[in-house]
Amino acid sequence: MTFDKLRLLGWLIPVICLGTSGWLIYSKNTELRSISDVRNKARIDVQQAIEQKRKIESMHSDARYATVDVTADEEYTFIAYLKTAAASCGVLITDLSSQTTDAGTDPGAKDGKPDPLLKGIEGRNTLITMRGSYTGLREMVWTLESSIRLLALSNLTWARTDHGTSVTVNVTRFVSPKKKSSS
């Protein structure tokens, strides 16, 4: 190997090594910065999504709903609710009978076909006979009617007798067989 070649190689090899190393480190640094930016953007997206979810969850939290998921203690919970409401209104529930029907078809629909929206939903009818003062009975009916869970009242019989005032009303609640995805 001649002196000139050795000298040339003496410059060339370090320059190539330094250049290659520098280029590799630079490219990796650029890649790292790029991925870091992506990470930061992803974090911002997650924060925005969490905020959006929180807003959606907090929004309409007091909105009325029609159905609840079917559970083993659904009826127990409802009866307990009735007793609590009656006690607070000062009325006496003298008679109660239940019947379950398919609520998937709108009774008002002309074609009689089940509504896809209501498919599988059960309508649990409870015929309740209560006795008490008119004011108490009215309060009781209003409590049932304005419950956050929709209770459809129908088939009302209000009568005044010598022993007081009695009300018989059919209360229909709706139970969904499928589990609700969100409360």
């Binding site: 190689l9 190393s21 890649e31 007091d62 209501l118 009303v169």
Partner: protein, 517 residues
């Protein structure tokens, strides 16, 4: 120069030489750091050898072989340099006089033409001592040339570029004779009589060996002075003039172009040889003139001052060395420092190359480490990004499901809302419609929205008034009298009645909480 610093042309104490050079150059305020060094014939061996005709690029290897064969360089790292003698002036007969064996070689019958090469050789210790001395003075060796060869350059510059002459260069222990024909060096030989012997100041007292070369040591006392006026040793002078005459006579006889050449130019290194030219002229019967480089240099005006005259006696070698780089000179360079310089450069180059490799390895290691570290961080970030993206996707999916569920709940609520009746509002409307003289007995609201109201009234007017009030209620429609009849006589006077009408579904009544649906 301090005593003992240089002995017999060899630097024996480089430190003293360095100090002396540094002091000299400082006093002269010389700024250049490049120096050309002349080495006297004591330390430089010279020989003319015959070689086969070959181009310049092949001549080097041929000469190398000849040098090794003749053992011109005796030590391991000695150096040599050579010049190809010109073949422009051809001899009349193909005689060749070489110093290979100091005999005449009759090549008249030779079938092949031979080239002549003069080789100068120097031992490594001599060069190293010079280099140590020069570099110790902070200088850089530009070239190391034989002193007598530098004198030859000085003579040629003084004589003219195309001159034909015999150049006689007297060194301390020997004398070189250059035969120049039309500016071309055609022969170069050495005779073993130098200025020391001619001046007679020093007589050889012993011989010793330095670096493998046999050297002569001289006593301080004059050996024999025959001519007191010139202070020259007649015996040595006679021997010297005889050798010069033999050489000139030979070349005049053998080379037709030189037969008429009677110009002999003398260059000496000792001021005591100022009259050697006249002595030699009288002995040879030829015109012998002393080289006057200062007076005829192309770059310098004629200077006839006594100082110049004295200086040019001893400065012809220095002048020749200084003129080494001039392109107009036809005297090629003889650089005995090439091997040493190349060796040093080679060592430095290898050292630098090793350094370069170390730097390269460090750079590669840094690069690998950097890439590895960055790759680890990048992989970690990529994993984090993937995890965050998955989380974001899940949250957005949950949002979509929540929105969908909300919408479904709203739609279901809207649908089921129709199935209920606004019982409280109906009761309130009916109660508000009961006027004076009227009362309610029962209210029945059937699932088909039929409302049946029974009651009692004092008069028909009160009953009709109540019916009108019921009809003005927005929740009740088409309220009509089913029947009415007088109550039995045993009871209080009055009538009983029954109204029948229709009502609306709960969907037409806004309930609390529905505003937000």
């Amino acid at each position: 120069m301090p005593a003992g610093a240089i002995e017999c042309g060899v630097v024996t104490r480089p430190g003293l030489v360095s100090e002396a050079l540094r002091s000299l150059l400082n006093s002269m305020e010389v700024s250049s750091h490049r120096v050309a060094i002349g080495v006297s014939g004591d330390a430089v061996s010279q020989r003319t050898i015959t070689v086969p005709p070959a181009p310049d690029e092949d001549l080097a290897s041929i000469v190398r072989g000849e040098v090794e064969d003749h053992q011109l360089v005796k030590t391991a790292f000695g150096a040599y340099a050579y010049i190809r003698l010109s073949s422009e002036c051809q001899p009349a007969m193909s005689h060749t006089w070489t110093q290979d064996n100091e005999i005449w070689i009759d090549s008249r019958t030779s079938k092949f033409k031979q080239d002549l090469v003069t080789v100068f050789a120097i031992e490594q210790e001599t060069i190293s001592a010079i280099r140590d001395a020069i570099e110790g003075a902070g200088l850089t060796v530009e070239i190391i040339e034989p002193t007598q060869y530098a004198m030859y350059r000085s003579i040629q510059l003084a004589t003219g570029l195309n001159g034909t002459f015999f150049g006689v260069m007297v060194g301390p222990s020997n004398t070189d004779i250059a035969v120049v024909c039309k500016g071309q060096l055609v022969a170069y030989r050495r005779i073993d009589t130098g200025s020391r012997a001619i001046t007679g100041d020093y007589a050889p007292t012993s011989e010793y060996s330095y670096a493998g070369i046999r050297m002569s040591a001289y006593a301080d006392e004059p050996h024999e002075v025959v001519n007191p006026d010139s202070r020259l040793n007649s015996l040595s002078l006679e021997e010297f003039s005889t050798e010069v005459h033999r050489t000139i006579y030979y070349y005049q006889r053998e080379y037709p172009d030189l037969s008429q050449c009677e110009q002999v130019v003398l260059a000496v290194d000792d001021s005591r040889l100022e009259n050697l030219a006249s002595e030699l002229s009288s002995r040879l019967g030829l015109t012998v003139e002393r080289a006057r480089p200062f007076g005829t240099s192309l770059d310098n005006p004629v200077d006839q001052s006594p100082f110049a005259s004295r200086a040019e006696v001893v400065c012809s070698a220095a002048y020749g060395l200084a003129m080494d780089g001039i392109q107009i000179s036809k005297v090629p360079r003889i650089d005995l420092f090439t091997e040493e310089r190349n060796a040093v450069q080679n060592v430095e180059s290898k050292r630098n190359f090793k350094g370069s490799i170390i730097v390269s390895l460090l750079a590669a290691a840094i690069g690998i480490a950097g890439v590895s570290l960055y790759s680890g961080q990048i992989a970690q970030l990529q994993s984090e990004v993937k995890q965050i993206s998955t989380e974001a996707t899940q949250i957005r999916s949950q949002i979509d499901l929540a929105v969908q569920s909300r919408q479904q709940q709203a739609d279901q609520y809207k649908a089921f809302r129709k199935r209920g009746l606004p019982i409280t509002q109906i009761l309130d409307s009916i109660a508000d419609s009961v006027g004076p003289g009227a009362g309610l007995t029962s209210v029945n609201v059937s699932p088909d929205r039929t409302v049946v109201i029974t009651g009692e009234a004092d008069t028909e007017t009160s009953m009709l008034s109540m019916m009108n009030a019921l009809n003005s209620c927005p929740l009740l429609q088409n309220v009509k009298i089913d029947w009415f009849k007088q109550m039995p006589q045993e009871k209080a006077p009055g009538i009983t009645f029954e109204f029948r009408g229709t009502t609306v579904t709960s969907a037409q009544v806004i309930m609390p909480g529905e505003q937000a649906q």
